[in-house]
Symmetry: C2
Subunit: 212 residues, 2 copies
């Protein structure tokens, strides 16, 4: 069974870091997003030492399992060291084929912002795609101009249906309906859940609006 077949990466991905969800709140937060029906928690840490990142990842893994697939942004070494389930790779991170060589058992996601980026990554067979930014987002200043729901739909139509397309970028409970309608298999969010007073309800609202 392939790595992705062992994990459900469709549905809601919640992106977290120690600044947004501090270690003391991880148990409560992860229980809430799990209860809301999230599938994946992605840990995206850009600052600090490897030791502090691994300590955070250990906590995430402890409270995420069972129920949530844990994916590490960018750092294949951290994903391997912490025994996470997968790694998500941006355009400037390790190439997918290299990451696969280093970590054949991990789920590997790849960021795609255009049809040409899809064509470039296609031969390397990622397990899922992160597609966006769909809408403008304050948390990723290097994400380029938003591709919109139409851009998402064009990429979804080009990508085989068995390769999950996870939409990312400015997605909220208010605009998620159009994202599902465009054919997304999942949505990845930061603010919509981490800044909600009720993360469980926030996840449920993202799913309720038409997840397939």
């Amino acid at each position: 069974m392939t790595a992705v077949a062992r994990h459900n990466v469709r549905g809601v991905h919640v992106l977290i870091d120690p600044g947004r969800v501090d270690p003391a709140h991880l148990p409560e937060f992860l229980a809430a997003v799990k209860a809301g029906g999230a599938s994946v928690v992605q840990v995206r840490i850009k600052d600090g030492s490897t030791r502090s990142a691994l300590a955070y990842l250990d906590l995430v893994l402890q409270y995420a399992r069972p129920g949530l697939t844990v994916i590490v942004n960018d750092r294949v070494d951290w994903a391997l060291a912490a025994h996470a389930d997968g790694v998500h790779l941006g355009q400037e991170d390790l190439p997918v084929d290299v990451a696969r060589r280093l970590a054949p058992h991990l789920v590997i996601g790849a960021s795609v912002g255009s049809l040409s980026e899809w064509r470039a990554v296609q031969p390397h067979r990622p397990d899922y795609l992160g597609v966006g930014a769909v809408f403008a987002t304050p948390s990723k200043s290097d994400a380029g101009a938003p591709i919109g729901v139409d851009g998402l739909r064009r990429i979804r139509e080009a990508v085989p249906l068995d390769l999950p397309v996870i939409a990312i970028g400015g997605i909220t409970g208010d605009n998620v309906g159009a994202v599902w309608e465009a054919g997304a298999d999942g949505v990845a969010v930061i603010h919509a859940v981490t800044e909600s007073p009720d993360p469980e309800r926030a996840v449920r609202r993202l799913l309720r609006s038409g997840a397939r």
Copy 2:
């Protein structure tokens, strides 16, 4: 044969990064340090993307071989992706035993600044130790108070003789004699070589003053 047995890590380690030795100067610089008799080039990159780091590492490997062992600071994933020879781990980087699990074929060096740090890392069997900072150094503000030549000697006396001790921190052609005299098997330098108008001569001067 173990990883370290295939590589000579005694002698002079030259630490470089794209800011100190830009890609255009790598061929000339690496030829010079090789001619001077250096054993190891360690690439220490703290900024920029993985893709740019891998591009730099590819160039270093192209011009370092044969003759120089190429070690990557901190990033086991980059060392594996680029097919480097080894990785050097600081106190806040991946633990040595975890790195060994991820990369059993790599030379693994570990930073040690005290006898207690040596005792903590000893069970994980690093292939060599980076010991320091011996002298005050401007390039590593988090290195703690210098241990001096006496501190280096105390660690050297506690460490088995078949485990190479590479002294680091503020070492120059002027003070290196006392470092060799204290029992170092090697010296790691940045400024003494990268800021020299004649890197070949700078390496030779470090060795000439009493390398074992």
